[in-house]
């Protein structure tokens, strides 16, 4: 599969390397869900910079990655949505509510750091 999943501290970083088939998108979802438990990850970053098309299926799958990870105790941040891909997604009128996005990996890490801290405060 043309996705590399790296573990960085408490987070998993999945970098998509090229356009994916539907089957590969679903495989990515399953692998991430499995590894969240395996590595006790608190956050997932999915880098979609290499995707030059995000259609309804891929958008929905990214949403289900986020929801699945949430149930396993991790937050998901999508990074690297290309400007013209963003325009297409808006015209498409997709419901992207479950998705948290950031411009790049650094911002995604800051976002996750903030959210994991926030969780701790909620629990006190």
């Amino acid at each position: 599969m043309s996705v590399t999943i790296l573990r960085q501290g408490d987070y998993l970083v999945a970098s998509i390397q090229s356009d994916l088939t539907d089957a590969e998108v679903l495989e990515l979802r399953d692998q991430l869900s499995e590894r969240v438990g395996l590595y006790r990850a608190r956050g997932i970053v999915v880098d979609v910079t290499a995707l030059d098309v995000i259609d309804s299926f891929v958008a929905r799958s990214l949403g289900s990655i986020a929801v699945t990870a949430r149930l396993r105790g991790a937050d998901t941040v999508i990074v690297g949505i290309q400007p013209d891909v963003a325009i297409a997604m808006v015209q498409f009128d997709l419901n992207l509510e479950p998705l948290i996005t950031a411009l790049d990996l650094d911002e995604a890490r800051r976002l996750l750091d903030g959210r994991t801290r926030g969780d701790g405060e909620d629990a006190r």
Binding site: D52, V53, D84, F92
Partner: protein, 149 residues
């Protein structure tokens, strides 16, 4: 111009990858902007997936178009499936017959300029969609000069 006609046979979800990239490449060869090429590739992906999910096999044909002094790109998706009995309902946002989100066809229509769906029960479905390209100033100037002779 026949070199610019592209056909992609769709038999599985793996064929969506070449369908998207061929569509984008053709759009860029025809001078569409990067954004428009993305909109076209996304619309192609939706109608190709529709074929995979509902029929399993079909063909996507893309070609350039010159009409009324406008340049465009036409995408025709054909399948020989059972057809769509309610094409009006299928075009409604949220309508689904297979448990999807029902975004495919209406989404593709929003991404393109023209969209037509022709389907009769038992005779398959043909989706024809067109995107027109905006001409830049230089092209308009050349055309005006050409007209003056």
């Amino acid at each position: 111009m026949h070199d610019d006609e592209v056909r992609v046979t769709i038999t599985s979800d793996a064929d969506l990858v070449p369908a998207r990239s061929e569509g984008r490449a053709l759009a860029q060869r025809l001078g569409f902007s990067r954004t428009d090429a993305t909109l076209i590739a996304t619309a192609i992906s939706e109608i190709a997936r529709n074929i995979v999910v509902h029929v399993g096999r079909g063909e996507i044909h893309m070609r350039p178009l010159y009409e009324d002094k406008r340049y465009g790109l036409v995408v025709v998706a054909r399948d020989a499936g059972r057809g769509i009995p309610e094409t009006d309902a299928a075009m409604e946002h949220g309508f689904t017959s297979r448990g999807g989100l029902g975004l495919g066809l209406p989404g593709a229509r929003r991404l393109m300029d023209e969209f037509e769906i022709d389907s009769k029960p038992g005779q398959g479905t043909t989706v024809t969609m067109t995107k027109w390209r905006f001409r830049d100033e230089l092209e308009r100037l050349r055309e005006r000069r050409g007209q003056r002779g």
